[in-house]
Symmetry: C2
């Protein structure tokens, strides 16, 4: 348990920069995304206070934030639990993300600055490099960054905000998409087209490419996750 947290820390002696509250919020978010805190499991204040070496006040503030983000659920006088997503919940979120990108893509094609287009092109180049290095972690982050950058190019702060929040909610379920090489290769090709359509400001095309990309990606991820879940059920008894 302790070791899992230690692996997260960038330096052995953790420097809680900023407020404790913001620090612990981010830490918990990562712990949930990484699976250190399991879906559906209770989150005990005392345990976390001891692990993270902070007092209950900032921790409880973090709980409230994460509850609003949809990552945990708080029952008054009972406690917090990590929200357990069904596959349908994730699919619902992806449907929302697709909808948001649908608005975003057309606006971005209209309103993006050249600098923003160049930025996405650069991220894409780096992402391809990560792919060729088989660096899944870097690939994943660059992938997310590309999508967010396209959305941001729509110059709609509300859109950027909502999109980022919804991405964060389901981040933990999106690693599974590119586990087999063939899907991964296809995803890279799709991104190639996406980057080109964005560079050419072809809004409707960009929109449809993004939609297709998400649907294909999710289909793979869903199957992978369902296999995982099946394997888990066989491996350990349900608690």
């Amino acid at each position: 348990m302790q070791s899992k947290i230690m692996t997260k820390q960038t330096s052995p002696t953790e420097p809680p920069r900023g407020t404790r509250s913001a620090y612990v919020t981010e830490l918990l978010r990562d712990m949930i995304t990484r699976g250190d805190l399991e879906s559906g499991s209770r989150v005990n204040e005392r345990v976390l206070v001891e692990q993270l070496k902070i007092s209950r006040t900032p921790l409880r503030e973090a709980f409230k934030i994460l509850e609003r983000e949809g990552l945990i659920s708080i029952q008054p006088n009972v406690g917090a639990t990590v929200v357990a997503f069904t596959m349908d919940d994730v699919e619902a979120s992806i449907e929302v993300l697709i909808g948001l990108e649908t608005i975003g893509a057309e606006r971005a094609a209209e309103r993006a600055t050249q600098a923003e287009i160049d930025k996405v092109a650069e991220l894409h180049t780096r992402m391809v490099a990560a792919f060729e290095d088989s660096d899944l972690m870097s690939y994943f982050h660059l992938n997310q960054e590309i999508h967010q950058n396209i959305i941001d190019a729509a110059h709609n702060p509300a859109l950027s905000r909502v999109y980022a929040a919804e991405c964060a909610r389901i981040r933990r379920f999106r690693f599974a998409g590119n586990r087999d090489r063939s899907r991964w290769e296809r995803a890279v090709r799709e991104h190639e087209q996406i980057a080109e359509a964005f560079a050419r400001r072809e809004g409707p095309l960009l929109r449809e490419l993004l939609r297709a990309h998400h649907i294909a990606g999710w289909q793979k991820a869903r199957h992978a996750l369902e296999d995982d879940r099946g394997a888990e059920d066989k491996a350990g008894p349900p608690s």
Copy 2:
């Protein structure tokens, strides 16, 4: 100031049902929506603690929640301010709402149960009654409820959640839309069509009606708000 809060309370002796934290969150949200806390103004903890008769802990938790909702902004070690929206910010939010309803409308037309359709029809009837009574407040709430109910009929929890959150953010700017009677009448007619399209499950039509409805409503509201803002600037010196 005190009096404004008193008008909000449903009973003279406030019964903070549930946790203090949830109670004060809702109270602050209402205070912001109603304009009791002005856009851009600092929000002092001590003042609110004395007004609301609660301690700083639940108040600060409420701040964190409202910050995540996008209603206030917290600068560490400085304090909280009510987020000041520009007209462009509101327009950006509405663009997002339109996008969300675009997804929602088609899904709702496919997936709605008869009970959900009946519910919207009933709300619509009540809304028309409120219109005929010139009960702007009831009208406004029923209006919101209709839109949310249509979205909910899409049976997509993520969508319902995001939509509700985004509505709450800009609620305070949407009163202004139906102030002149002609626009109000037109809005009711538009809602008539919307309710019919929903009842007939005509997804694409519903989608376009909703889009047109929002755009027309916002155009009016924007002008009304700009007039207000102009009047304010003349009335009082900018602080």
